[in-house]
Symmetry: C2
Amino acid sequence: MANIRGYNGKILRVDLTRKAVSVEEPKEDFYRRYLGGSGFIGYFLLKELSGGEEPLGPDNKLVFAVGPATGAPISGGGRNSVGARSPLTGGYGEAEVGGYWGTELKQAGYDAIIIEGKADSPVYIWINDDKVEIRDAGYLWGKTTTESQKLIWDELGDSLVRVAQIGPAGEKLVRYACIVNELSHAAGRTGMGAVMGAKNLKAIAVRGHRKITMADPAAVTSLAKQLRDYVKTSRFYQIMSEFGTPGRLVAFSMAGGLPTRNFQSSNFEGAAKIAGETMKDTILVGHRSCYGCAIRCKPEVAVGEPYHVDPINGGPEYETIAALGSSCGIDNLEAIAKANELCTMNGLDTISTGNTIAFAMECFERGILTPEDTGGLELNFGNAGAMVQMVEMIARRQGLGGILAEGVARSARTFGKGAEDFANHIKGQELPMHEPRYKQGMGVGYAIAPTGAEHCNNIHDDSYTRRIVGELASLGVFEPLPAQELSPAKVRMTLYASLWRHLLNCLVYCIFVPLSPSKTAELVEAITGWDTSVFELMKVAERCTNMGRVFNLREGKTREDDYLPRRFFTPLPNEPLRGVSVDRTKLDEAIAAYYGMAGWDENGVPTLGKLQELDIAWVAKCLPERVAARAG
Amino acid sequence: MANIRGYNGKILRVDLTRKAVSVEEPKEDFYRRYLGGSGFIGYFLLKELSGGEEPLGPDNKLVFAVGPATGAPISGGGRNSVGARSPLTGGYGEAEVGGYWGTELKQAGYDAIIIEGKADSPVYIWINDDKVEIRDAGYLWGKTTTESQKLIWDELGDSLVRVAQIGPAGEKLVRYACIVNELSHAAGRTGMGAVMGAKNLKAIAVRGHRKITMADPAAVTSLAKQLRDYVKTSRFYQIMSEFGTPGRLVAFSMAGGLPTRNFQSSNFEGAAKIAGETMKDTILVGHRSCYGCAIRCKPEVAVGEPYHVDPINGGPEYETIAALGSSCGIDNLEAIAKANELCTMNGLDTISTGNTIAFAMECFERGILTPEDTGGLELNFGNAGAMVQMVEMIARRQGLGGILAEGVARSARTFGKGAEDFANHIKGQELPMHEPRYKQGMGVGYAIAPTGAEHCNNIHDDSYTRRIVGELASLGVFEPLPAQELSPAKVRMTLYASLWRHLLNCLVYCIFVPLSPSKTAELVEAITGWDTSVFELMKVAERCTNMGRVFNLREGKTREDDYLPRRFFTPLPNEPLRGVSVDRTKLDEAIAAYYGMAGWDENGVPTLGKLQELDIAWVAKCLPERVAARAG
């Protein structure tokens, strides 16, 4: 086995159809070229799928991957990535998740798991270092994540086992079902939970006892200490630690950036009632962390009657509060916390769930849906009880929930009557809680991201900007640009920021942690012993975005799939952004500029030159004939 | 004045026509975007010229530039760059040079000098910190560099004044005249000395007393110490210190890489007689250095009768020994040392001089030139006396020397009779002493380099490879590739290596010093205090190559100007590379691949996307209409 510091040198392959387990040992240059996480996923999905595999069929592959930073004793290193062809978008699917499971997988001796085929009945995978078993999960099927984790612990007699699992929503193939690590960390986006469900795979339980080798442990420790000292004294991170991600919700709303009532406006009059400060004063009972993190941004909440929320299931983060709160016109934090718990227990992505319910609410208010359709529910904006009930109906595919479980794009087609005008999605994926009229750079990123509307590989070009620009200075981005600007300079910032975030998803490393690019290269060097650089690492990120792009092209996506929903071309109704919309011509120009800067042709197809420059000419062979790569 | 650490924040502008001196103070983002040296030169030449200016007319501009590394107390930091539209190529002209003059300029308080116009009679510029004078140089005109430096010292009463100057060759507008720093360091290539001569500018004398500010002097010192310790113990650098650059000459010849008899073959039977080891055993009397360097690779030689060489004028380096030696079929080291001294005293580029004489020798042997043309000289390969005499004739433009002073491209056109078949030049510039059939990656680099055949911004993909790949590993180049390979992978290595060397020419930093890219970023950070990265720095290098490219396109150069001379498509006659030639189809493919990887279209025109990505969209406006940048 190659002894590659910072890695195990092993990829686990599990064929559920044949119930076969094998281990592969790639060479070091594979590790260096693709790094981990998103890089591995892009590589395996593009190379091992042929295109056209049914996302919810047995031929799709599901990849779990860690990276060199996973399990490193440093804030931000407690993450893993999951990828497959997405049942939500039909394209490249990937989600990032925190917690402890990734570290445990690495300690068990693997850098990735590739899951193939479909079990003939429900199973879970039990990884105990070298021992890998495919076990019966019939008795777990239909159980919530909370129940299921306990049952697995009981069966294995070890409550230190880390469990990544789906809930009933994944089993029922809700297209935006997620995968939950340790009851409160979600690989939320692009429906990875449905892929797992379609494979009859309930959970992956892991226990690892290996020590992760690092080239220069002292250097890692020193970087970790610098980071810890910084986050303890920085006001920004004090807020993050104290209130979690919802700590900026009111500021967003006041700036005109809080998605409200299915993105009809961007200020929510009830913002203060659902903000992090309020949460702290009311329902917050603790802070949860990912492995090794000094920030501890994850809330634990407790709610009594009528909603009853158990802190074991964590608490709502910013995206969740906005999606199930302001976007549904709801200012009842306890109801939001309940909906969050239901999403976690059932394994639903809170962002897509909130968006889908908000979309249904708008349809209801506009008469496209009637009480007959909703089973009598008054599905108006602001109806907290109806929202909570709808989460359960989606998870169980009950009534209207059975349609909404398909996501807003498919629901809109089912509803007809102009519902598509209010269906806010990109490539089929519902939008994160960042208003594209407010953060117009992020809008461009949404339009182009391989996973559809996505915030984990995009820039926040708003009031964070000064911090982001600080981060990006060492990439050659010096000036903050107004959030509503859509210039070539903004596009460049967006491109670089997106590459930077893709890089973090390869490491796999948290996007919140303030490690500059140069320090990040130092970290990779300390872990792997490679003489590396930000240049080399950014090229890995470019490999990622190009592999994702080609994956989507192979699945038939075109230039037309890089767009924003029509809502964002209409003016915002409220101050401070009254009258602001995305200019369609400017967006088209920005997308064209992005393609050009990325080394893609006018149809968004990577040129052969770009792929050769990235040392991945093999990717050109995955392009469909209709868009074969040009040389230039 | 902006206080930019590592810089002075001042650009000196001298208008020789109006005898006006002024100082400009660019903002920090200019410094960060273009860095120095080659970056400044590319910027000023592209921005301030309009295209079509006569290289030897008053409208051409001559730029001297230093960079953040210039004057830093570290091996490799004692360099400066010089640029102008080249009288040799008609395109982008630039030369790099070592010594002490650059450091002195920086200590005098300037980051660059832009020289405009033409003095109505010979002058020199005297820079004494803030005091800048344009002085009469009538009494210096016609004098050798050796004489002239002494006269300037006498006039100024200070032998610590550093002098960059031309010799009689520059005055006589020999198209490959060079600029000489301190009698032995030459800004050799692309005829910068002729541009200086055309401006009636004999010299720039500098004395500076400022302390160069650095953000973190201790970090610079620490890097300097690491480097010093390394070069003192590395066998490679011990050879470099002991024998200078000619230390590898015999190895080159044995590998089939030593240009011999105007590139007719690549082994020279007399190699051992002109090698560094022989020089050490015979004529070497000392080692000269550039500012702050622990390697001290520059020889000082003394030769008695009949050639008489004074060590004050330094000694021949590898390029010189090969160009005036093996390439002329000459194994007489004392004659070569004399020719070198004559080049230095007259201000001739030894590479172009040697090539031009070798070309004339081949023409003579083939009967294209006769004794009538040569003034009776038996200009055969191997005739050391004729070679030495021809150097003087070129410098004075006497007889045949008046034609050869125009370079091989123009001489071949004058001679006719098929002489162009033996005229080895690219874009009008003669080739450095690296055989493109032996180092085929370097051949691609030669073909595309903005300055024409050029080794200072190109890779050596031969037996150095393992060292070079070690250098390039942190750029994502992992595997040494055979020197004779011409694959996309080789092209990628060539592109990255070329960018890396352009970066060194921006810093301005010696290409010989083993500072890895990541350490280089550390050095820039220690000097400037910027949070920078190899990514940001490599983007500066890309700006450079794109500005040079656009400069050439504006001057009418096309895809057809990126080529190799026809000789290199014919097979080498000797072992070990008998039968090896450059494959024309493969070279075409390699050039096309290079364009694609560089973000240029199929005609080698930078795309608008690439220029926008580099944050230099203004460069697109400098493209002539016939090749206006596409968006893609």
